[in-house]
């Protein structure tokens, strides 16, 4: 059986961090597949291992045990082949490079010719709506704009998989909602699969085809909820009953029981 159509296939994946006080199990028994082009969110409280799982997929850390394949390859090979792009909670832009220079960084590292690079940077800046800011420096941009630069950089090599670790976590609510809508558009246009780590229930539901609910001590997947909200994710969706119903479903999955206190997150 070939797994090349699966963006991510994790089977029995676990991660243990050795510490002086003994081993800490960050993640255990993870079974997860992400289809090509699918949008999947990982949600859960602090310490549930959602970021750890993303770092394993990105091969920024190695799994202690289990099998992890990205488009049918081991994670390390997928990283070397640049099958994924990644964006973090901090935009992580290099302050001495312009917006264009930051977007071009991966292309430069992989030896793309200068003219081809310039063309690609122009395309990407347009995709994230920063055409007029290409010569600015990161310290001249707002937090939301910096994060858009980071997304453009992640998309530079036209990856089929986009990994995002709470990319909108540090932004205000208005910017957040705007960038969420932008992200669904960009994901649709590029056809990339997305694995998106968040601790916001509405964000997870609004963006995702499936929401993976995780739980701490030890970090594991406790539930996977299919949103079935269709391909169009616009502002009207945020006020639809179907959306609220899914938000409630994810909330109940997170708390392990129907929520009685409505004011609790």
């Amino acid at each position: 059986m070939t797994n090349e159509n699966l963006a991510v296939r994790a089977s029995g994946v676990s991660k243990t961090f050795p510490t002086k006080a003994g081993d800490v199990v960050a993640l255990t028994g993870v079974e997860l597949t992400v289809e090509a082009g699918e949008f999947v969110s990982l949600i859960g409280p602090s310490g549930c291992g959602k970021s750890t799982l993303l770092r394993l997929i990105a091969d920024l850390d190695g799994a202690t045990s289990g099998e992890l394949e990205i488009f049918g390859k081991p994670a390390a090979k997928a990283r070397i082949d640049q099958d994924y792009g990644i964006a973090f909670q901090q935009a992580g832009l290099l302050p001495w490079r312009t917006v264009g220079g930051n977007i071009a960084l991966p292309l430069e590292l992989h030896g793309m010719a200068k003219t081809a690079r310039a063309t690609r940077v122009t395309e990407l800046a347009e995709l994230v709506g920063l055409t007029d800011f290409i010569d600015r420096y990161p310290d001249q941009l707002s937090g939301g704009m910096q994060q858009r630069v980071a997304i453009a950089r992640a998309l530079a090599e036209q990856p089929r998989l986009l990994l995002m670790d709470e990319p909108f976590g540090a932004l205000d609510e208005m910017t957040r909602e705007y960038l969420q809508a932008e992200l669904t558009r960009i994901a649709g246009e590029t056809g990339a699969a997305v694995v998106f780590v968040t601790h916001s229930i509405p964000e997870a539901v609004f963006l995702s085809d499936r929401v993976v609910v995780m739980s701490p001590r030890p970090g594991r997947i406790t539930d996977i909820i299919t949103t079935s909200l269709g391909d169009v994710r616009d502002e009207a969706l945020r006020e639809s009953p179907a959306y609220f119903e899914r938000v409630t479903a994810v909330r109940e999955a997170l708390h392990g029981a129907p929520v009685e206190r409505a004011n609790e997150r």
Binding site: R79, I86, F88, A91, G92, L94, P95, D139, L141
Partner: protein, 258 residues
């Protein structure tokens, strides 16, 4: 300290130090020239300026000697410091080997080594003075560069790994630019130290030239105004080097981290 309190307008920051200078100069003239209350070793500023202009030929010659000693020492010390810091940052054991050495260099008054170095390289050579300036400049550059090479942020390191960057690429694209402001801070600090070291080293022998030698000679022979004119020349060297290196540092740090 309340930071939101009164901030003086821009012109005050320029005028205030100038005013202080003018007041001190006026007091100096008052005490020396008008009241004639100063000892003979303290000449009038007017006399110092006159000497400086009249003897500018020989003063500038000696300034050239001391300045080139300081500059070459600064350059050599900086290059050696960068190489040593790069090694120490890359290989932990080398860091452990260098740390006590650098600490001992930092606490020993380097100019005290001058008589030894002069004997080693011959009293007619500038080499003893040069090496004193180089050793003195080495320490702040080494300490700052080593620190700078360790300032890369985790998010940037993750980014480089996720982009499948090689070790060399990571060094060129991330580690080096991150360390650059630290390097320039080190050079700025080292520039003043190098001038002081080169000048003071002249008091401990070597060829009969340079600012320090002249100050000692003319002070001893009672030509106080000329000695002070040489002091002014020494200040000019230090100030020029400090201004240039400060400017370089400002250029390198104009982009705030985000």
């Amino acid at each position: 300290m309340h930071r939101d309190g009164f901030t003086p307008p821009g012109w005050v920051r320029v005028v205030a130090p100038v005013a202080v200078g003018v007041i001190i100069l006026a007091l100096w003239i008052l005490i020396v020239d008008v009241l004639e209350a100063a000892p003979r070793a303290l000449p009038s500023p007017v006399a110092i300026i006159e000497e400086f202009i009249k003897r500018f030929g020989i003063i500038s010659e000696d300034m050239g000697i001391t300045a080139s000693n300081a500059l070459i020492g600064l350059a050599v010390g900086t290059i050696v410091a960068i190489l040593a810091a790069a090694l120490a940052a890359t290989f932990r054991p080398i860091d452990g080997m260098l740390a006590p050495l650098v600490a001992s260099i930092a606490v020993v008054p380097i100019v005290a080594l001058t008589p030894i170095l002069n004997t080693m390289f011959g009293a007619s050579s500038q080499f003893g003075r040069l090496s004193v300036a180089a050793i003195a400049a080495f320490v702040p550059v080494f300490v700052n560069v080593l620190r700078g090479l360790r300032q890369t942020r985790p998010v940037h390191r993750d980014l480089m790994r996720a982009s499948a960057a090689s070790g060399m690429q990571t060094f060129r694209v991330l580690t080096l630019p991150t360390a650059l402001p630290y390097l320039l801070s080190g050079i700025r600090i080292a520039s003043s130290i190098a001038v002081i070291a080169a000048l003071v080293a002249e008091y401990f022998g070597g060829p009969a030239d340079g600012i320090g030698t002249s100050i000692a000679t003319y002070a001893k022979s009672g030509r106080a105004s000329l000695a002070f004119a040489y002091v002014a020349g020494g200040i000019a060297i230090g100030l020029a080097l400090f201004l240039v290196t400060s400017l370089l540092e400002r250029v390198a740090t104009r982009r705030k981290p985000v």
